[in-house]
């Protein structure tokens, strides 16, 4: 397993929104999807996922419904709402801006000043 990084505070919500935006998922599926799209580089405690999911549902960014998993188990599936889609767009832009800024700041060389 590759070396895993701790999540920055607040980034879990963004990752969940991204994962769900690629198609409805149940909780365990969200975990797998995040692992898949991040090359297993991010460490997420399994249990900690759920309070975050509940919070997003309460904020109206996700909606949940019970369904059946691929191996025939009952599971609750989450999908993005319109508000969730908009939030994901905004947060992604914000994150990109921040990342660019930090990256360029960190890349600064002495001769550039």
């Amino acid at each position: 397993m590759a070396e895993q990084a701790q999540l920055l505070p607040g980034t879990l919500d963004l990752l969940i929104l991204k994962a769900v935006s690629l198609g409805p998922l149940h909780g365990y599926g969200v975990l797998l999807r995040i692992g898949q799209i991040s090359d297993s580089a991010l460490l997420i405690e399994q249990g900690a996922l759920y309070p975050a999911l509940f919070r997003l549902v309460r904020q109206g960014l996700l909606k949940a419904s019970w369904g059946t998993s691929e191996n025939n188990r009952r599971a609750k599936f989450y999908e993005l709402t319109t508000a969730g889609r908009k939030r994901l767009r905004d947060e992604t832009e914000g994150w990109n801006r921040l990342a660019t800024a930090i990256a360029s700041a960190l890349a600064a060389q002495p001769e550039e000043i």
Partner: protein, 893 residues
Amino acid sequence: MKVLAWLRCVVAKLFHQSQIVDDTDEELRSHIQLRADDLERSGLTRSEAERRARIEFGGQVKYKEECHEALGGHFIETVLQDVRFSVRMLRKSPGFTLVAVFTLALAIGANAVVFSIMNALILRPLQVSHAESLYAVERGSNQAINHSFPDYVDLRDRNRSFEDLVAYNVTGAALDTGNNPSSVWLLETTGNYFDALGVRPYLGRFFHRSDEHGPNSAPYIVLTYWYWHSQFQDDRGVVGRVVQLNKHPFTVLGVAPPDFKGTLLFLAPDFWVPIVNQEQVEGLNVLNDRGSRGILMVMGHLKPGVTQAQAVADLNSIGSYLEKTYPKDDSHMTFSLTTPGLAGDWLGGPMREFLTGLMLLAGLILLAACANLGSLFAARAADRSREIALRLALGSSRRRILRQVFTEAVLISLVGGVVGLAGSIVLLRGLSAWRPLSTAAPNMTVPVNPDAKVYLVALLLAVVSGFLFGAVPVRQILRTNPYEVVKLGLSRRVGRRITVRDLLLVTQIAICAVLVTSSMVAVRGLIRSLHSNFGFEPRNAMLVGASLSTAGYSADRLSVMQKRLIDTLQTIPGVKAVGSIDRPPLYFGANSAIVFTDKTADLRPSNAAAEAVLYNVSPGYFDAARTTLLAGREFTWHDDESAPRVAVVNREFASRIFGSRTNAVGGYYKDGDGTRIRVVGVVEDGKYASITEEAQSAIFLAALQSPYVRGTHMTESTLVVRWTRDPQQLATVIKSRLRDIDAGMPVTIEMWDKQLNDSALFASRMATLALGVLGLMGAVLSITGIFGMAAYSVSKRLRELGIRVALGAQRWEVLRAALGRAFRLLAFGSAAGLILGLLATRVLAYIVYGATPRDPLVLAGVVLAMALLGLVATWIPAQRALSVDPLILLREE
């Protein structure tokens, strides 16, 4: 409607919530199953896969709870959960719960009682409309509440600050409704009284200013609802009926509404009459006498927008006009405003101070109770540290555990508060129905029924104290390390010399010792004041009130009647001496007047030599009252109108005006009119207006000469009868003899010492009673506190004690090991409390005569009481420590 909607919302949420809980459970379960499926696929057995999945997931309960919190709005549900859990925990330890509830009920009950008395007498306004702008007018720097009628008229007509000013006066009279003359209390008021106060009649009509047409022009009566209810049986036909008031016909005009009980909080009158009929009611008309200041009280509503300061300035300018215009009668005419209802600051001032002091002490009781419960809670938390550690280990947050502890504390305090409030309501009901001075003034009341404000304060106190003692174990819980506790078992605290619990116990004992000390000082003071020298001997004497004026005798016949009464009583066997006095000393204040030296020519009030208490006495009074004659002679029946004016003065007067008592006899002084009066005798000093007063000058005038003395009049007089036989029997004889003289004359007979208890000593008796009760509460609290601490420490150290016994320790040594600490804390707390208490009782000296903290008996008493309390409280724990059987103990552990 809003409330209903809210309730529906809450209920919906609660039901919905339980649905969500199941939902969450299922979802988390499904997650673990899915994970286990994956793990199984990677080659693990099913059970191993499920185990791994659960471990990977982490604390299920914890995440479930976090999910709940993420959903928000579950506050009520958590509270309900906490409450349910607390109730279960408390039911598991009924002893603890009972002690805690009882302690709090006591403390909160005490606070509720004191607060409702304060609320009723000080905070709650009179039951009139716009009570907030109603003020009573006080005069001079000593804030006198009495005014003369002509002064009142000037104030009323010349001021620009008040809507209207009313004046009223309290007096007793005899009412005859056709059968039997009975003693009544009434307010004589100006005609505008009801109109100015905005009171509407319940029945019939009230009298108005337009009804006043000079002396005795308005023989009308307005009944209070309660007098009408009890004496006229709610007879609506009473309006228009003519009754005999002091043998004069008066017409009943109407009945006042039930909630209007006059304008004095502590005295509910039977009815009101117009003050223009003063001569018929009191036997004398002083309405035109500017220098005569009875107990005429003045009050009124301020005009809208007028401030207190503006009104005072307005009144003062009238005052200086009056001083200039009537220099002989009016001096010190400055005014101030106060809240009406307690006879101004005369009664209100000391009452406010005393009640504030009492409230403080009650607050201390509550604080002591909180300290008590705090240490109980701390001990409980220590005992429960295993449970708390387990809950922490299972993923419960510390915040949640603290919340639960606080829920428990507040639950206890609320139950305690409700019980305490219920108890206090019963007590207050009794107090409201109580007539403290049943014989002297049956209308004296203590109107202290609790209202919403009292309930609110009690509730608030309960919640605050719950948080206060709930906060004690917080640190303990925050520092609990689940790992250590579960691994090692209960940690024994080693090396810490002083714990929070010890400090709390010392604080509590100190507070209780303060209460015990102050109650003992008060009791000692009361006992001493009962045995001090009043300048007369109240024991073995009775007071016979033969109300001549209410029997319809006019002023010129009074003195003749007086002599007849005294002569009659003197012939009864068993009567040693008889004399009359217009108003017995120490009976609700005293009349006083200014006097001048014989050489003073300019008789302005500012040139006065002294202000002296004034009594009119008959010959034989000093003998009957046992007032020692120091020099000269006492009065004889020859000191009458035709003889030169004479007086007997007290020693203080003699030394102040004449330098010595030998100089005084035969000397002259001038009264306010300039009349020269010769001093014929000097008697010992006494107490006149109150038992706490400094030595006062006093003048005794010959009763036969005094009807003609301006400003003092003999409308009332009391016969002092010194007896040598069974007083009950004697009283019947006296009554029948007086009835022979005049059957229509109301007669009251009272033992002098009992009457003194009801009047002059009333305040200190009430103070002593209140402090005694608080002291007792303090004692009970310290017993529960010490008991709790001792019982706990013995139970914690049973094993150690068992080992000591097994190794051959003596009983004495076991006791010392078990209870030494409790006793050390007790001694320390008592000493601190004693010192504080002695400092605090300096304040007491103002109320309770002779209350001095420097009293070896009090010191010894407090020490003894605290030692006894300690003994009582540690008795059971000590028995338990002594009965330790090392064999059983060692086997059990």
